[in-house]
Symmetry: D2
Subunit: 206 residues, 4 copies
């Protein structure tokens, strides 16, 4: 019974994160089932999303524009009480938000926008390389760069790549590069810990 | 960092079937990440959904309208080769589609649009009661009504309720009412079957 | 640190149903951790298991022997109030127990002791074929044989095989052979039912 | 159909780690199904377990006794090439084995035998307190004590308790106490890391 229109919308929904074809199908029927005013409001909210949400020119995360639409910096980047000597590099907005929620970090952020898979050949295409270099060149206050990427192969590969391209700049400006500490995360059981985690936990004992 | 616009869209997505607040949040960021032409196309596809999809006046399932938009019956209800002596009652479009996929049923359908929870007081509000009565009154060819609702408390309660309200009509017109057979479904292990299933399996042995 | 003794016990435990090597290993340490009197009691309970538990000469299920150790029939087979015109064939004791728990069946049982995989060549080795034939030959009261095997390929294959070998006997003695009813089991959702189940549910509607 | 003997064995099996009543039941039937010589061998292997396996007088882990049965130290504790200046404290044998498997640690061990729950009143009953004190008193070579307990509330509570009771001894003998490093374990995603882990990861960045 599928026609082109339903199929097209199903295909769009199936590309949403974590949605399979079956759920995409149910989304379409959910919308058909709603009354027209709600469906119309959902559509217009999506349509206007980018008008209301801007991308910070400094850290590249998304943030709500004000009425005038003229601000180009997000709340954190406009906050003069943040410590502008530290820059923490995250992959995506959700990582940044999780760190902000802890209330433990008061420096600035840079959303690098992706990770570089181990076998990727076009590495610079995957991350905001030029934008990061440009920020480091212009923001002289930075004395430490913290990598807060996920603790797996692609995360480590991304750290290695960025370290390499930043090396001349870092040395010239005496910027310290650090990586989030590795070891036992909360709840880890010794019996089931992998050997890489045990190696880090032994090395970083204190 | 949430503003009203993101929050509003998150709340809409969180009402989609099987979507929690965390996934709704990721949907919004997924859209922010897409380029504007795709987001605009998704929004317009949703906006036009109801223009392209009609609801069959006969069986109440959704179906694609043709260019003229004038047809009011779905493909199955317009198909004169279907056996119009049998009417199979399902809860929703997905159930109908699953039965069609088997290729085992050649009669007609009626999508009753919901189930009646055991403690529901306003029973007629939950299902297309008037529409079903009207169809049975006008379609004199029907000699069997098959209930194909899910095999749980709410499904059984719905069957009981509809049987009761249809009783006078059924008796006057000598229409037979049947319910899908109960027993072991494919893959059932005896050791783990519940006693209601075993009761049906013993009773319906053949 | 494994020595032969621990390894041997681990290998025994790893053959227990549903136990992997890791859990088997934990079983051994659990025992090492217990005090000697408990470990000794566990060992002796296992050692004496077969002395206290007999196998019914009639239905082949396991049952507790009495003090004299002289009875050879289980509680059900010794119960003269059971309906000895019906014999229900199950794969294993757990299936029989599950059916007894429903309180819905008052006939007798035969535990066939296994299922025949579809590609098995030595079919008679997998089940108590001779014992079943012998019982049917001697128990003249039986007028119905119910197959209560699991509803999957191996179960169906076993039914087919036994039906074939029993055919001459069944026809001569006018014994009826039935199989547990197939259809929607409790909780089945129409949307997710497989086509074999829907075929049975449509065929067995009532 | 349960008699006392089956029930007793089921109850023993149900206390095995990770085994529920249903699986315990299946274990008993598994044994009934095996031939007598295997069941007898399993029982005797359990019966002789403690005769063949001793507990090391030094680190308290289990180890295979030799034929003479006279050795009282395990392979690691008898190994003069191990670094006897470091003592690593683990909860149980499985933790010790996991660390040995990495090949990254060459010091000695002490199996403390349990963790102290946060609300435990009789704390010393849960762990080998006296034995640990005695070992530290006699083994003058030790200069570092590493706690390698699981990274959760009970583990941390146990570390706190032992640190307190060892304090006088540690200070007098200038023994350093360390705890395995905390931070992101292998595979950790920033987006889903808890705030305690992020706090440690930020603090221990390097």
């Amino acid at each position: 019974m599928e026609d082109g229109h339903i199929k097209k919308l199903e295909e769009y929904f199936a590309r949403f994160p974590g949605v399979g074809p079956r759920q995409a199908h149910r989304f379409v029927y959910y919308l058909l089932w709603q009354n027209s005013s709600i469906v119309s409001d959902i559509a217009h909210t999506i349509l206007n999303l980018k008008k209301h949400i801007g991308q910070c020119k400094n850290c590249f995360r998304y943030f709500p524009k004000d009425a005038s639409g003229q601000y180009t910096l997000c709340r954190i980047c406009s906050d003069s009480s943040r410590d502008n000597s530290i820059l923490l590099i995250v992959e995506k907005d959700a990582d940044l938000e999780n760190i902000e929620r802890t209330g433990l970090y008061n420096g600035n952020y840079f959303v690098v926008g992706g990770l570089i898979p181990l076998l990727e050949t076009n590495k610079s295409r995957k991350i905001r390389e030029k934008e990061l270099l440009s920020r480091l060149t212009h923001e002289k206050s930075i004395i430490e760069l913290i990598f807060a990427l996920s603790a797996h192969v692609d995360g480590d590969n991304t750290v290695d790549y960025i370290k390499k391209i930043l090396k001349p700049h870092m040395e010239k400006n005496e910027i310290r590069i650090t990586v989030l500490g590795r070891g036992l995360s909360t709840g880890s059981e010794l019996e089931y810990s992998d050997s890489e985690t045990l190696r880090n936990a032994l090395k970083n004992r204190s």
